[in-house]
Symmetry: C2
Subunit: 267 residues, 2 copies
């Protein structure tokens, strides 16, 4: 049976609220995801929350009923609560009707089987959680295998990144590693490392892209460091017809990923 | 000569601070842009701020000196200030060294010359300022003429949208109009209205795109209303290889815009 919590001072509420801070996420190994859509996508790929909050007013919603039953079957904690507490947990003015607390799911680099997908995305020092989540969402759309985070990327389990991923956080493998470990792993097997860069004249539609293709995207402000570009098998650029010389990092990744997907599906 | 302001209670500081609210932007017809990069891009296309704030510590920076001279020549207000006031104005923890206050620059629909560009972007009820700014930035990159906002889109002059546009706010024409006015205007001249939709089997790489192409993107959560889709000359969809069925709105717009640009540059 669900338990009911309506007090802000409740220990579970305080503990879950603290997961909006990275420090607490790291310590607990847990993160927050919100909304029927994202929680349903998680469930469809086999991920249930350890703790599920739902608004009392939504108790009869069929998806809420299915989720609560599934979480209870698994021995999880199901909590019926009030909109003000959902608001406090999510930080949004219009909180979602459900919030789930999930175990963080990072994949070790060595556990990645690159043959499972034709596209992988590599991000270096990406700082914007919205960009990170959007890249995960794009990765899901193009059938990528996962996102490999290098150097000091923003936390993929932040509330903003989870929100922007629209559930792709649960379908994409996520790796956190260092450049010194990534390069030897990459070179142990097949795979083409492709960087988008201003330091090239190669149009992104010119090369033939191998499988698997590893698309590497750099920091939003600085792009890729020179030594990272030097390691790339290909540097390419998109045509720029305006005054500016760059695209948003998530946009550039998507334009590149669809070019590779389009080549692969023609082949 | 620049004047120096170091008091939070200063009337100009309070007035400029209020421009973070849409209500005040509308009343004053002014908006904020921050950072040397964006202010320089604005200057390059002939836009100078009416008020320019710069950090005293950056007074010797050559770009700051060029900007202050240009704003003074134009009779604008140049203000030397302290980091705490720049922080208060921008709302960012690490404020930029310059903040400019610009006149809002909307273009009436009737003043748009569609023959000036091969791509135009139309957004309907777009709600996220980051998406709107990112779409402007992509529009600049693909050589679009501008962004036509339909229905209740988020304010293009919000601080977040200006920031995400990375200066493209100054290079792209921006129109705010209603669907009932847009459709008759569109049909007065050449132009293909293209919607991305789940309600079609047409792959986005199949059609031949005319010039000018009008790419229409819908609300982040709901997509385009059925009657808007019915008005489109083409409905297309991107391949989706994952669990989810959609892309971020700014990402979908960019993938579409690059496909059209690629077709046009091959032709």
């Amino acid at each position: 049976m669900p338990r009911e919590i309506t007090a802000f001072s409740n220990e579970t509420v305080k503990r879950v609220r603290s997961l909006r801070d990275k420090k607490h996420r790291r310590r607990e190994g847990l993160f927050l995801a919100e909304g029927l859509r994202i929680l349903t996508e998680a469930e469809e790929v086999g991920h249930l929350p350890e703790i599920l909050f739902y608004a009392k007013a939504s108790a009869e919603h069929p998806i809420v009923q299915r989720l609560t039953a599934a979480v209870e079957d698994m021995g999880g904690d199901v909590i019926e609560t009030i909109p003000d507490i959902l608001h406090k947990l999510s930080g949004k003015d219009n909180p979602q009707t459900v919030i789930g607390v999930y175990a963080e799911r990072l994949t070790p680099l060595k556990a990645i089987d690159r043959s499972l997908a034709d596209i992988w995305i590599v991000a270096q020092s990406l700082r914007d959680p919205g960009n990170l989540g959007t890249i995960l969402r794009t990765g899901d759309a193009v059938g990528a295998g996962g996102l490999i985070l290098i150097d000091d990327c923003v936390d993929p389990f932040s509330v903003e990144a989870v929100r922007a991923s629209m559930g792709a956080l649960f379908t994409q493998s996520i790796v956190q590693t260092r450049w010194e470990d990534f390069v030897p792993w990459l070179r142990e097997g097949p795979g083409q490392l492709i960087g988008t860069s201003l330091n090239t004249d190669t149009d992104y539609q010119t090369p033939v892209y191998d499988r698997p293709a590893f698309i590497m995207v750099g920091n939003e402000a600085r792009g890729l460091p020179p030594e990272y570009e030097a390691e790339c098998d290909l540097l390419v650029k998109m045509p720029m017809r305006g005054k500016a010389d760059s695209l948003n990092a998530a946009v550039a990744t998507a334009v590149m990923a669809y070019e590779i997907l389009n080549q692969h599906r023609r082949a």
